[in-house]
C-alpha cells in the first residue's frame, strides 16, 4: 500500500507503471441509496493472477463493470499502468488493454472461430485481408499461450471449454493486457477447468495480468497469486494466496465463521418412492437428450446426479416433474405411474407428491414481475387454501407467505415486494419454501445453490438434509461437484444422456472427473 501512495506525488513514472497494471483508489458507486462500492482500493500487480471473491451482491460485478466501462464511478480514481484514466465505455477500456471474458459467452453460433474473433474488429471494407491477418495472429496466439482452437470450426460444433478459449482469444486479439474473467468455470468439467487454469498461468508467465472473479474458493486457492475479498460493497482484505486458507476466506466473505462441510448422519433408506425405468427424452427438435435411464430413489436418501451442465440432467428433471413427455420408459411415484397428457401435467406430478425446485429459478421457478406472495403459491395456486372455488384470495395467500418468510428467513420480510427485488439467495429461498413447506414424497432439486451466497448455501443444505431425515426421497442435480458429494448418499454420474456409473460420494475426485467426461473409471484406469 505504501508504494502507490507515493506515486500520487510523483509524475507517473515508468517504474510505478510496471508495478501495478490496475490501481483503483477509493472508488465508490451507488445505485440510489444502495452503496454498491464503497471506497474500494484495489491494486493488481502486473503479471499476476488476482482473484476477487465475495458473496452475491458484494459488489464484485459492479467493480468490474466500472473497470470495463459499463458504469462510471461516482468518485475515486482509476490508474491503468500508472496513468490516471477516466474509462468512458468498453471500447475505451479495450484501448487501454482491458479485456473481459463474460460468464455467458457472446459468440455467434453459426460463425466460425475466425469470424467470431474479428467480429467488431473487422478493420477494412474487404474482409479477406483482415481475415488473413487474423488467421496469422491467431496462430501466433495459439502457440504462445497454448490456446489451440481450429480457426475454421463452427462455434456450434465446439465444446464449452473451447468456446471459452475463443472468448479469451477474442480479448487477446483486441490487444488485451489485462483479462477479466467472470465466473469462468461455471460451465466446465473439472478437467476443462484445470486446462483453463494452465492457460491462465501461461498467460501470466507471458506477461498478461489476470483478474479472476469467482465464488469457488478451491479455484482461488488453486490458481491465484493474490486474492481480494469483498463484502457488502467494501474491500475487506487483500491477501497473498499462499498465506491464507479457504476457511479464512469464507469467514472474511460472510463476516462470521461458516461450516464448509455439511453435517449429516448416514442415511436410513426405506422403500423405493421414485422409480425411473428405461426413460428416454428428446428435446423440441427431436435430439435425444436422455437415453434409456433407469434408477430409483428411496425414502430417506439423497441421490445426487453429477455431470457437466448440458448432459441431459435438465431434460431428466423436466420429464420427472411432468413438464415434458418422455419418449419411452416410465416414471413411478409410490408405484403409481406419472402420466403425461398435456401441457399441464406438472400439476398432476405435484398432486402425486412430487415437489420440484427447478434448475433455473428465474426462467422457470419464479415470475419475477410478481409480488413475493404470488410466487409463494405458484404451482399450488388451485388449492382451496388460497381462495374458495375459482376465486383467489390475496389475503389468505399473503398470510401463508408471511409464515414462510418467517420459517425460511426470507429478506426483506415483505410479501408485497416484487420478486425481482429480492437477492438471488432470497429468491431461491422463496422457491424452496414453496416446495418444501407441504406434504411431499419426492423432492427433486436442480442446482439448489446456483447464484446463492455462502450463508444461504449452508441454510439450504441443512433444509435438504432435514427433509431426507423426515423420510422424503430427494433427487439432487447439481453441476457443483462439491455440493453433490457433500449432500448425496449415492451419486449417479450422467454423461451424454446416459447414467455412466454410480459412485459413492467418497470416491476420489479423479474418479468423478473421468466419469463426468464419459470414461468409466474402472476401465479407463
Amino acid at each position: 500500500m505504501v508504494e502507490h501512495q507515493t506515486t500520487n506525488a510523483q509524475q507517473p513514472s515508468q517504474a510505478a507503471g510496471s508495478e501495478f497494471a490496475i490501481d483503483l483508489k477509493r472508488v465508490s458507486k451507488a445505485f440510489g441509496p444502495v452503496q454498491a462500492n464503497k471506497d474500494i482500493d484495489l491494486a493488481v500487480k502486473r503479471n499476476s493472477i488476482h482473484g476477487i471473491v465475495g458473496e452475491n451482491g458484494a459488489g464484485k460485478s459492479t467493480l468490474m463493470s466500472i473497470l470495463y466501462g459499463f458504469y462510471t464511478a461516482d468518485s475515486g480514481e482509476i490508474w491503468v499502468n500508472g496513468q490516471l484514466v477516466k474509462i468512458k465505455d468498453s471500447s475505451h477500456a479495450l484501448e487501454l488493454g482491458i479485456g473481459m471474458v463474460h460468464q455467458h459467452f457472446m459468440l455467434v453460433e453459426n460463425f466460425t472461430v475466425l469470424e467470431n474473433i474479428i467480429l467488431g474488429a473487422e478493420g477494412e471494407y474487404l474482409l479477406a485481408s483482415s481475415m488473413a491477418k487474423a488467421r496469422e495472429e491467431l496462430t501466433r496466439l495459439a502457440t504462445d499461450y497454448g490456446l489451440n482452437v481450429d480457426p475454421d470450426a463452427l462455434i456450434e460444433d465446439l465444446s464449452v471449454g473451447q468456446e471459452q478459449r475463443v472468448e479469451i482469444l477474442k480479448a487477446l486479439y483486441r490487444g488485451a493486457d489485462v483479462l477479466i474473467l467472470d465466473e469462468p468455470t461455471g460451465v466446465l468439467t473439472p478437467t476443462e477447468a484445470d486446462q483453463l487454469f494452465r492457460i491462465l498461468e501461461q498467460l501470466r508467465d507471458e506477461g498478461k495480468t489476470i483478474i479472476l472473479i469467482t465464488h469457488k474458493l478451491r479455484e482461488i486457492m488453486a490458481v491465484t497469486d493474490t486474492v481480494s475479498v469483498m463484502r457488502q460493497g467494501e474491500m475487506v482484505g487483500t491477501l497473498a494466496t499462499k498465506d491464507t486458507s479457504p476457511e479464512q476466506l469464507a469467514e472474511l466473505m460472510v463476516g462470521r465463521r461458516v461450516l464448509l462441510r455439511v453435517d449429516k448422519t448416514p442415511a436410513e433408506p426405506k422403500d423405493v418412492v421414485l422409480d425411473v425405468k428405461g426413460l428416454s427424452v428428446t428435446d423440441d427438435i427431436g435430439v435425444p437428450r436422455v437415453k434409456d435411464v433407469s434408477f430409483n430413489v428411496r425414502a430417506g436418501e439423497i441421490v445426487g446426479i453429477a455431470g457437466v451442465a448440458g448432459n441431459g440432467q435438465s431434460d431428466l428433471l423436466r420429464a420427472i416433474s411432468g413438464m415434458e413427455a418422455p419418449l419411452l420408459g416410465e416414471i413411478r411415484v409410490n408405484g403409481e405411474l406419472v402420466r403425461f397428457h398435456g401441457d399441464d401435467s406438472a400439476s398432476d406430478a405435484r398432486k402425486m407428491g412430487v415437489a420440484h425446485v427447478p434448475e433455473d429459478r428465474l426462467k422457470m421457478g419464479l415470475v419475477t414481475a410478481f409480488e413475493e406472495w404470488e410466487n409463494s403459491i405458484l404451482g399450488y395456486h388451485e388449492s382451496e387454501k388460497y381462495g374458495t372455488g375459482m376465486f383467489l384470495s390475496p389475503k389468505m395467500a399473503i398470510a401463508e407467505a408471511e409464515k414462510r418468510i418467517e420459517m425460511f428467513d426470507i429478506r426483506p420480510r415483505n410479501p408485497r415486494l416484487k420478486t425481482a427485488n429480492f437477492s438471488g439467495g432470497n429468491q431461491q429461498k422463496i422457491v424452496l419454501a414453496r416446495e418444501m413447506d407441504r406434504d411431499l414424497d419426492v423432492l427433486i432439486v436442480g442446482q439448489p445453490t446456483r447464484g446463492v451466497d455462502i450463508g444461504a448455501i449452508e441454510f439450504i443444505h441443512k433444509h435438504i438434509i432435514e427433509l431426507r431425515d423426515k423420510g422424503i426421497a430427494v433427487l439432487l442435480v447439481s453441476v457443483e461437484l462439491d455440493e453433490i458429494r457433500a449432500l448425496s448418499d449415492r451419486v449417479l454420474v450422467m454423461f451424454d444422456g446416459e447414467i455412466v456409473t454410480e459412485l459413492s460420494p467418497d470416491a476420489s475426485e479423479r474418479e468423478f472427473g473421468l466419469s463426468m467426461a464419459g470414461v468409466d473409471p474402472k476401465e479407463g484406469a
Binding site: 445505485f31 398432476d348 428465474l362 419475477t368 395456486h381 390475496p394 425481482a420 447464484g451
Partner: protein
C-alpha cells in the same frame, strides 16, 4: 447495460401518458396553425364539444363505451402475453349474432332484446376469437397474423351476409331496423341532460365489464394463470398451467368483450346492422389498451380520452369549417401514435429526472444475477 431505473407509479401511469397527449396536441396545434386557424380556438372547440354540454358528454361516453369493450379485448389477451389485433373482426361478426337475436325478439320487450342480443354477441365474438386462439395454441400459427387475417375474413363474410343473406327488402347491404318496442332505452330517457346523445343502457355493461376484468385478472385463479403465462411461459409450464387452455379461454373472453360493442353500437344506436359498422373502433382499442397499460382503471381513462377525441373532433370540424375533418383524424392519429407506438419516448428523460430522487430496488437485481 445502463440499468433501467424504476420510476414511481404515478409517473408511469399519469405523467407519461399526459406528456404524450400534450405533445400530440402541440403537434396537432401546429398543423392547425399551418392552415391558418388559431390552435387555441381549435383545441377549445374540441374540448367544449366533448365536455361542454350534456349532449357532448353523452356522445363522449357512448364512444368511450365502445372503446372500453375493444380496449379490454386487447388488454385481457395482453395479460396472457399475446396481441389480439382481431377486436375489429370480433366486434363485426358479433354484430351478426346481436342483430339476428334482436330482430327475432324485437316484438317482445327491450329487456329480452338486451339480454338476448348480449348473449348472442358475446358468443359470436368468442367464436371468432377462438379460431385464431386454437390455431396459436395447437398449431403455433402466430396470433398477430391470424387475428389480422381474421379481420379481413370477417369483413368479407359480413359484406356477403349483409348484401345477400340478411338484407332488408329494398335496402342495400343492411338489415331491417329494430321495431320500436324492442329498442334499448337511452340514458336521455331518464336524464334530460344527455339530450339527443346515443348514450344507452349498454354504458352500464361497460362499467360492469371493467369491474369484471379487474376481478378476473387479480382476484381469480384463472386470472393468476393468465398473468403467469403472460409474464413467464416457462414458469407456467413448470406450475402445471396449460398454455393451450389459457390462450383459448383468454381469447374467448376477449372476443366476448369485443362483441359487446355490437350491442352498444349496432343494437343500441344504429338499430340495424350496416356494412363496416365497427368503423375502426376495434383498432383504436389497441391504443386504448396500451395507453391504459392494460389496467381497467387506465382503460377507463384512455377510453374517455378517445371518446372525447371522437366527439370533440366532430364538433371541431363543425365549428371551424376551415379545419377539414381529415385534420381531426390527424390529431386522433397523433394521440394514438404518441401514446401507443411511442408511449415510452419520455422514459429516458423522466428516468434521468427521477433517478436521483426515488429509491430503486434495494439491490439492483441485474447486478446481483450476473454475479451468480
Amino acid at each position: 447495460m445502463s440499468a433501467r431505473q424504476p420510476l414511481p407509479n404515478w409517473v408511469t401511469i399519469v405523467l407519461m401518458p399526459a406528456l404524450n397527449v400534450l405533445l400530440a396536441f402541440i403537434i396537432g396545434g401546429l398543423a392547425v396553425a399551418i392552415i391558418g386557424e388559431n390552435p387555441l380556438t381549435a383545441m377549445w372547440a374540441l374540448f367544449y364539444g366533448a365536455f361542454g354540454t350534456g349532449m357532448g358528454w353523452g356522445f363522449t361516453l357512448h364512444y368511450a363505451t365502445n372503446f372500453i369493450f375493444t380496449g379490454l379485448a386487447v388488454a385481457i389477451v395482453f395479460k396472457a402475453g399475446m396481441f389480439n389485433i382481431g377486436g375489429e373482426g370480433q366486434a363485426y361478426v358479433a354484430g351478426l349474432g346481436a342483430i339476428m337475436v334482436a330482430l327475432w325478439l324485437d316484438q317482445t320487450h327491450w329487456v329480452f332484446v338486451l339480454f338476448g342480443s348480449t348473449i348472442a354477441a358475446m358468443m359470436m365474438g368468442s367464436l371468432w376469437a377462438i379460431i385464431p386462439a386454437w390455431l396459436q395454441a395447437k398449431r403455433g400459427s402466430h396470433i398477430v397474423i391470424t387475428t389480422i387475417m381474421f379481420n379481413f375474413i370477417a369483413s368479407a363474410f359480413m359484406s356477403y351476409m349483409l348484401a345477400q343473406v340478411i338484407t332488408a327488402p329494398g335496402a342495400n347491404a343492411e338489415t331491417r331496423t329494430i321495431a320500436e318496442q324492442g329498442r334499448l332505452p337511452l340514458l336521455s330517457d331518464w336524464f334530460d341532460a344527455f339530450q339527443y346523445s346515443p348514450l344507452n343502457i349498454t354504458f352500464f355493461f361497460g362499467i360492469a365489464a371493467l369491474i369484471f376484468t379487474y376481478v378476473l385478472i387479480w382476484r381469480t385463479k384463472l386470472g393468476y394463470k393468465i398473468r403467469t403465462l403472460g409474464a413467464n411461459p416457462e414458469a407456467a409450464r413448470y406450475a402445471g398451467i396449460s398454455a393451450v387452455y389459457v390462450i383459448i379461454i383468454s381469447m374467448a373472453i376477449a372476443g366476448a368483450m369485443a362483441g359487446l360493442m355490437a350491442v352498444n353500437e349496432a343494437v343500441g344506436v344504429q338499430k340495424r346492422l350496416v356494412v363496416g359498422y365497427v368503423h375502426g373502433f376495434g383498432f383504436v382499442g389497441i391504443a386504448v389498451a396500451f395507453m391504459g397499460r392494460s389496467h381497467p382503471v387506465g382503460i377507463a381513462l384512455a377510453a374517455l380520452l378517445f371518446g372525447a377525441l371522437y366527439q370533440g373532433g366532430q364538433e371541431l370540424a363543425f365549428e371551424l369549417p376551415a379545419v377539414p375533418s381529415d385534420l381531426v383524424v390527424v390529431i386522433q392519429a397523433l394521440v394514438i401514435l404518441f401514446t401507443g407506438a411511442m408511449g415510452e419516448m419520455f422514459r429516458p428523460l423522466l428516468e434521468r429526472i427521477f433517478a436521483r430522487r426515488v429509491n430503486p430496488a434495494p439491490e439492483a437485481p441485474t447486478t446481483a444475477e450476473t454475479e451468480a
